[in-house]
Symmetry: C2
Subunit: 258 residues, 2 copies
């Protein structure tokens, strides 16, 4: 049985095109590699009501895991903790463990209100240590769903995500995910399409052709083959057989495999 996950990224900079959402890519890849199936990625502004709405929508779909990223810092527009609290119908309270973690980061420096703000979390939350910055992550279990919120600074997101996956995550997928890919020059995507679909059925794998050139005139494809299985060795063998067969088809049709 697949374990579904969702990602929610928060930040006006994602919505106005100032910043490319590489955090979503990193989180999606990491969760996929663990065997989760990421079903949806959402980006919204730093607005409490927007964040709360998405949290409620995600919980209604009941994934095993929701990872939220962005908006945990010390500034006025870092409002993700408040948004999650609103979405869950819980209070936003100062978390004493989180405050201890924050105090230890600043050392001799005074913990001003802007800094203390990072200790406020939804009631019942557990702070997740951030080894690359100040703001701790936020961990909650709501029914079937585990929720992690991380800061948006990429190395802080990565630190909190790894600490969570290694020390806090309760429900782990029992399947592994793996993928392979190769490049094919000189074969149009529309020509390869029927061969791809028959191999998807034969091998029960996900195969996607990513056009890198031009369909008419200069066709160049990346062929990606991926799948999940409880048995890693069985999966790798299946991927290998499927790739071998597709490479042979491309070569037979006069394409060049790279």
């Amino acid at each position: 049985m697949s374990m579904n996950a969702e990602v929610l990224t928060v930040g006006n900079e994602l919505l106005n095109g100032h910043t490319t959402n590489t955090n979503a890519t990193h989180i999606a890849r990491r969760l996929t590699s663990m065997g989760f199936v990421v079903r949806r990625i959402t980006a919204v502004m730093d607005e409490v009501e927007e964040i709360a709405s998405v949290v409620k929508e995600v919980l209604a779909r009941s994934p095993a895991l929701l990872v939220v990223s962005g908006g945990l810092g010390p500034t006025y527009d870092d409002r993700t903790a408040e948004g999650i609290a609103l979405g869950l119908g819980r209070g936003l309270v100062e978390n004493s463990d989180a405050l201890d973690q924050i105090r230890s980061k600043y050392g001799e420096i005074e913990v001003t209100p802007a800094r203390r703000k990072m200790a406020f979390m939804p009631e019942g939350a557990v702070p997740v240590p951030n080894d690359a910055g100040v703001a701790p992550g936020i961990y909650l279990r709501i029914g079937h769903t585990e929720i992690l919120a991380t800061p948006g600074v990429p190395r802080e997101m990565e630190s909190v995500l790894e600490n969570f996956l290694n020390r806090y995550l309760v429900k782990r997928p029992s399947v592994v995910y793996a993928e392979r890919s190769f490049k094919a020059r000189g074969i149009m995507e529309s020509v390869l399409a029927p061969h791809v679909i028959s191999r998807v059925k034969k091998y029960n794998l996900y195969i996607k052709t990513h056009p890198k050139g031009r369909e008419v005139g200069d066709p160049y494809l990346e062929v990606q083959i991926a799948g999940s299985s409880p048995d890693r060795e069985e999966l790798l063998n299946r991927l290998e057989s499927c790739e071998k067969e597709l490479r042979e088809i491309v070569a037979k049709m006069g394409g060049i495999v790279e």
Copy 2:
């Protein structure tokens, strides 16, 4: 009054972390520059029901514009047209104008079923020319909302998006958007935070500090200032005054403006 927009990107490669969603960034930046406010970006898999669900959810929020990207190509997993049709409760029918555009791309080459598939659109759709590839874009008006679907190959997305904005888009924002930014070294984000919030109120602008260094030890911030106004000159003056004031604050506090 702000004109809201949403973006829906379709493709398993976005959900498994294989591909970073640069299409969403491009579309968001382009729409923002025209005066739209992009309220939400969603990414889902190449699944008809998922696409249909998001289309229905977006229409319930009634934005002025929805731009969908990805899944219009010739392969079995390109199912966006079908998903939009299902979401709208419309049939998926062969569009003769779209078929003409596709035939003209292939020239002497036979239009096989995989190629003909790209001419199937929701009933009532208008094809939008694709100058960089084969699959035409899809344009629809549903009540208050204009919908554009583009292919996922970046240069094809860009071509269809520009053709749409220049020739098909009916409801245009009457405001302009502009932004400025500068870098500040040696000032902690938590120290600048109260000064930022007071300028947000004073100038009615959006100001965001993007941490690039480390809050404790090596603080380095990008300060982004942005806003919208019906009057471009008034907006540029306001941005300039606000930036000048923030630069002075950083310098007064011993920070280095870059």
